[in-house]
Each structure stands twice: as C-alpha cells, then as structure tokens.
Amino acid sequence: MNNIVLKRESNTDFSSTDETSLLVVIFDSNPGQQFLRDNTHVLTHCLDSIIAFSNAHLMQKAQNKLAVMACHSKTSQFIFPGPGKPIDIRQTDGQYEIFTMVEKTIKHNLSKLLGSDISNILTESLLAGTIAMALCYIARMQRIKSPGIKINSRILLVTGSSDSASQYMNYMNVFFTAQKHNVVIDVCALDQHLSLLQQGCDITGGLYLKLPQLQGLLQYLLWVFLPEPPIREKLVLPPPVKVDYRAACFCHRELIDIGFVCSVCLSIFCKFSPICTTCHTVFKMPGPLAVKQKKKKLKL
C-alpha cells in the first residue's frame, strides 16, 4: 500500500532544483573604451549578444530573474528593469512577449543613456561602483523574497576597459561583500586582461574568461556563463587559473614581492619612508630589520 506517487518527484535527482536564479549583467558601455572607439558596429554587436544571452537566462526557468546595468565613467544605471512601469508591448513576431520587452527596454534605456552622456568622453569605467550597486539590488531582492524561496545570485561583468588600481579599495570591498553573501562574480573580458577582476572571480568562486575573439561573443557567453553555479560542477568548463595576489604599493602602484606596511593604516610602500603618506603618521627609524623577528627578545 504505497503512497501517492507524484511522477515529477521521482525524477528530482536529475531535474532542476527548486531555486530561483538572479542574474545581474553589467555591461560596460562606456564609449571611451579603446575597442569601441575603433568601430561603432562593435557596440551593437555586443549589445545584441548580451540581450540574447539575457533572454536565454530567462528561458531557463520561469522563475529566473534578470537585471541589466550599464556602466559609464560618470554614472551607472539599471537599464533593465528600467525606472517606472514596464513598457507595454504587443507582439509583432513569434518572439516570447517577455523577451521582446527585455530587448525593447534595454535598447530604449541604453540609447537614452548614451544620448545624454556625450560631453568629454573619459576612458575609465567605474566598474567597482557598479558592482556595489548590483550588490545593493541583490540584497534588496533577498530581503523582499517570499519566505522559503532560495535565490542564487550572480553578477556577470562584460567589459573592454582596463581595471585601474585607483579603484583597488572599492574592488576589494565589493569582492569581500559578494563572498560573504554568496554572490558569484563572473567576468568576461572583451579587450584587455583584467588582473584585479580575476582576483574577484577567484575570491567569489566565479569564472574569468578573456575573450579570444569578439565575433563569437554570444557563443562564449552561452557556453561558459549561462550555466548557473550549481550546475557548473556537472559541466567541463575552463579551469581556474592561478591568480597573482601580489600587492601594489601605494606610492608607485607597482607590484612588489617585499614591501613595508604602515602599522597604523596598513598602507603598503615599496621603500622605507619616515612618514606615512596615507595617515600622516611619523615612524620611528627602522630598528634592525627584524623588529618582528626578534620579538622574543626582551624589549629594552
């Protein structure tokens, strides 16, 4: 006398889990980027790929959620879901209504953003700040979810700009926050190798990919970044590379092997200087190299 057998429950070990996946795509659409300045078609190509990828994410499960952000040097914006009410869409072709809505909203908001931001183009995209916004958004989603539902959140960063050391502290803050909240950060580098963001991927358990060629962007996105973290272990994906965690000194921004650290503010310097440039502390002259080493000796 057996219990009722719900067919779908018998397969659960193989079928998908009952979890919602929230994806925040950050697209660096700063027109000052090197690879965008050469050829304007590249931007539309990238945008189309990202829209198709975003819709593919929504296609995975009915309860999947999506947000898309655009990152510039002056501001960052949510381009999906945009501010205000979702725009009203009537289908014109066989595309799923929601996908059409995503596409139209993203294009509409991005063109508005690009139109408003034409004065003096700056090359630096403030990615760390955008990730910070995304984390706030994810934190809100976690707060307002109905009880008993699990949300897996991740952030995908698609950028062609370089990561500047001036954002180092902001980067580290967002990486550690993401790590604490189990948010995975994936990075798809379109143009240059990004060592800081690679550290972020390593810290949060995400994937880092330097795109070999821009043409196949959509395929790379679908192959590498579409599977959400719980399924990634079931697929063969590019192995993590060893990440260089050396520090950059505050004075010359160069990577160093051995350096001096201020005991008050933990600033890193490559040479001994009598005063800390960060916290203006005056240091005692260095004792014999090994203040620390001989700590067992009595202090006189």
Partner: protein, 475 residues
C-alpha cells in the same frame, strides 16, 4: 488427508492490496506518450518549444542551447565530453529524455561517427521564441486600451472564486449550481467523482480527496490534462488547443489579449477556460480576455508562485505546533473542510479555526483513502510564512510528521495474501515432505507443526497438488 483449500479472504483483498491512487503527470510524461507525428506538429509552434525546453532537465537545457546555433550534427562523443565524469549517469538520463521527446535525433556524420542534431522544426521555433521572427502568436492582435481595464487583484479574486467553485462542488459543500454539466462530465471522466449507485448524483471518490489536497497549480494542470483527453470527442483540434494553452501560459498577468482571428473551436475552448477561471472575459463576445494566474506557467512543475513577497498570492495560513494543534487562519469553508478531513476541529472564529491532530482523526482520513504523505504535503504547502521563516526546509515539527507516518504504518501491519489451506495430514512425515517442498519453491505462507496445517500461495496450488499426488502414489 485432504486439501480443502479455500481462498477465504480473496474478495476482500483485491481492494486492499492495490488501491488506485491519483496519478499526476507532468508535461514530460504527457508528451512522452504522444506519437512522433503529433510531437512534430506541436513543435511547429514557438510556445510549445519554449514550454518543452523549460521542462527539460537542467543539463539537457545546457546541451540544447549549446547546439542551438550549430548547423551540422555534433558527434555524440563530444556531447558526452561536455559533462564531467562524475555525472555520467545523469548524462545518459538526459540523452534519453531528449531522444524521447524528439528534441534531438541521431544523425550520421561523415567518417562513420554517430552524432546528435536538433529536430529542425524544434530548432527553428525555439530560435523564433528566443530571438524573434516568424508569425505572431494568435492572440496578440492589436487592441485599443480597455476602458474598464481589470487589475491583477481583481483577476486573482475572480480566478480564485471560479476555481473554488469547482472544488466546492466536489466536496458538496454549498453552491451546487455554479458549475456546468460539462465540468461535471470532466470530473466524472477523471475519476475524481463517480455516480452514486442509488440516485446517480455525483459523489467524490478517493482520488477526488487526494486531488483536493494537491496544490492549486497541480490541480489545474491535472484537471486540464483530463480535459484535453476529452477534447477530441468535442470536435476540437488537440494541437490547436494545446498551442493556445501554452500561449496563455506565457502571457502577462494583468494584460488584455484579443480574440480576433480565433477559430470557432478555439472560441469554445476559451469559454471552457473561462468557466474554470483560467481567463477572464467580461462578456462572451467582448473581443478581449485577460489570462489569470491559474493559466500562467501552467506547465512548469516546480513553480511556486512569484519569488518576491509582493508578487505572491499564495499565502500560507496553517500553523502546526508540536502539541499537534493546527491553527488555520482562514475563513473559507473549503479550507476548513479540508483541514477537517484529518483533524478534530475544536474552535472556530471568524478568521481562524483550531483543530488537533489525533490518532483517530488521522486514521479516519487514512480510511478515506488519503495517505500520510498527502496530509503532510498539504500542511507543508500551506504552512504559514512565520513557520517557513524559522525553518525553511522543514517547516513542520518533525515529531508531528513522524507521528502521522507512524499512524499510517500502524495500519499496514497486516499484509494480505491469497492462499490455500492444507490440513488434516495423516502423518508428521507427510506434513514435513509437503512443507519442505513448498518452502523450497518459496510458496509457503504459513505452517503449524502441531496442528499439521499449511497455507500455500494460491498460484502454486495446482503445482503442489500435482506434487502431492505423485508423492502419495509413490508411497
């Protein structure tokens, strides 16, 4: 010596051994049983491709998306190499599902290798759904703004009222008239109700009780499946109806859609859906309709409402305490009646009923054909959000869950076997020989040496009888 065998309890047993339980199919099970021709016809519509895609196992979805943009067949060995070794079993399962649903087919690759290629129709239409192109869906003709647009809360209230009407009818609690003869026929067809032997009025069956305890989503899906079974008898086209149903399931809540260009068959189908509360139409000939929450994502088997609290209409209302008390914050007679199926109701307030789970109340429910898992499942589904917050995985107190299961097991202490009694053996030796024989062939059910009696499986009766004859002759 005689073998005066009688199957004393045989007639009683057949019902006890195999009670027919409600069988719930998901979309995969449903489509698996269709022929390839029907499947291919179905895949001509982007909506169905989308629905099927979402129902695929996680890994299969990744496979499909990876070869969606590949024109040539992909070697099978290569597909196998995408998954990691530790999950090769899952790979085999996934490949089977994809083949069964005709999503991909085997194809020969020059060089003698076997490859996989997506069914061209499926591939084309999934791309249309994802990227655009193709013909618009049948219900999306342009519409002027509705002067009396209906908001989401109105639609929710409407669909709830319609659906509960059906359920109320099943439990026979009031509102007998709000349901059409057609709906009754479907309930009868589905075996959720049956004609009473005396006066021919429909009464609820044990499957009906089980149906009531399912979550709303599963109820609608099960009901619609049963409806689809009868659709061809009504002279409607199955493919057309399925397509429309899936279009409906991918529509947006709170938006109106046009009935323009719909065939007369579809319009009839629409009226049926209207009756069950899957769509709202102000008037029969209004020219526009609103899908309700019941129709949305009808296929997805793991849907649990919206992810955010403000989207979620499905509010839990049951609190179970470790002292076996059940508090249900509800004023719906239906929900009170459901709680009453397995609890002893103690108090009733305008918005709260209090019951207690007792051995007797549970046994009564079990006798009615409800299983322990269904009771637990019901309580878990409707657990109050306060309970879920404390313990996400298992909101119910484990003691209560265990006890309900124990009460069920308690009833299963007796197992029934049809058998034949052998008695009045003349000697202990004869008894031993027959016992040995039955034991060695595994047909012995029970024996008693002192009384020289044996009970042997009924199916083996002839065999044992022959053996006995041979043996007694030889003696």
């Amino acid at each position: 010596m005689a073998d005066n065998g009688t199957g004393a309890s045989s007639s009683l047993n057949s019902t006890l051994i195999k009670p027919t339980n409600l069988e719930c199919k998901n979309l995969y099970d449903y489509l698996k049983t269709r022929t390839h021709n029907v499947l291919e016809k179905l895949y001509n519509h982007p909506t169905i491709c989308l629905a099927v895609y979402r129902e695929l196992p996680e890994l299969a979805r990744q496979y499909v998306i990876r070869i969606l943009f590949v024109e040539q067949p992909v070697p099978q060995a290569m597909v196998a190499s995408w998954g990691s070794q530790a999950f090769s079993k899952e790979h085999v399962y996934v490949s089977k599902v994809l083949s069964e649903l005709c999503v991909w087919q085997e194809a020969n690759i020059p060089g003698g290798l076997l490859g996989w290629i997506l069914l061209p129709t499926f591939k084309r239409n999934l791309k249309v759904a994802l990227l655009g192109g193709g013909k618009p869906w049948s219900m999306s003709s342009a519409l002027e703004a509705d002067s009396k647009a209906r908001d989401v809360s109105f639609l929710d209230a409407y669909s709830l009222e319609r659906w509960e009407c059906v359920l109320h009818y099943m439990v026979g609690s009031q509102q007998q008239e709000g349901i059409s003869a057609d709906a009754v026929r479907i309930l009868l067809h589905a075996g959720l109700m049956r004609r009473d032997e005396e006066d021919g009025s429909p009464v609820i069956t044990r499957q009906g009780f089980q149906f009531l305890l399912l979550d709303r989503h599963a109820q609608v899906w099960h009901f619609i499946l049963q409806y689809l079974d009868t659709v061809e008898q009504r002279g409607l086209d199955l493919v057309e109806c399925l397509t429309f149903l899936f279009q409906l399931s991918f529509s947006t809540l709170g938006k109106d859609y046009s009935t323009e260009g719909m065939s007369s068959g579809l319009l009839i189908f629409l009226q049926h859906l209207r009756e069950f509360g899957l769509v709202y139409q102000r008037k029969r000939k209004a020219g526009r309709f609103y899908p309700t929450r019941l129709a949305l994502n009808i296929t997805s088997s793991q849907n649990k409402g919206g992810i955010t609290a403000d989207e979620d209409t499905h509010k839990g209302y049951v609190v179970v305490e470790t002292n076996y008390r059940v508090y249900a914050y509800t004023d719906s007679n239906l929900q009170v009646a459901l709680i009453g199926l397995f609890t002893e109701l103690m108090y009733r307030f305008p918005n709260l009923v209090v019951g207690v789970i007792t051995r007797d109340s549970i046994r009564q429910a079990l006798r009615g054909g409800i299983t322990a898992d269904q009771i637990i499942g019901y309580l878990r589904q409707h657990a109050h959000s306060q309970m879920i917050q404390q313990e996400t995985k298992n909101p119910l107190p484990p003691t209560v869950v265990d006890q309900i299961k124990l009460w069920e097991l308690e009833r299963n202490r007796l197992t029934y076997n049809e058998g034949v009694l052998y008695s009045q053996f003349l000697s202990q030796a004869d008894f031993n020989v027959l016992k040995e024989y039955a034991q060695s062939s595994g047909h012995l059910i029970w024996c008693n040496k002192e009384k020289r009696t044996l009970v042997i499986n009924k199916s083996a009766h002839d065999d044992v009888k022959k053996f006995w004859k041979r043996y007694s002759k030889g003696n």
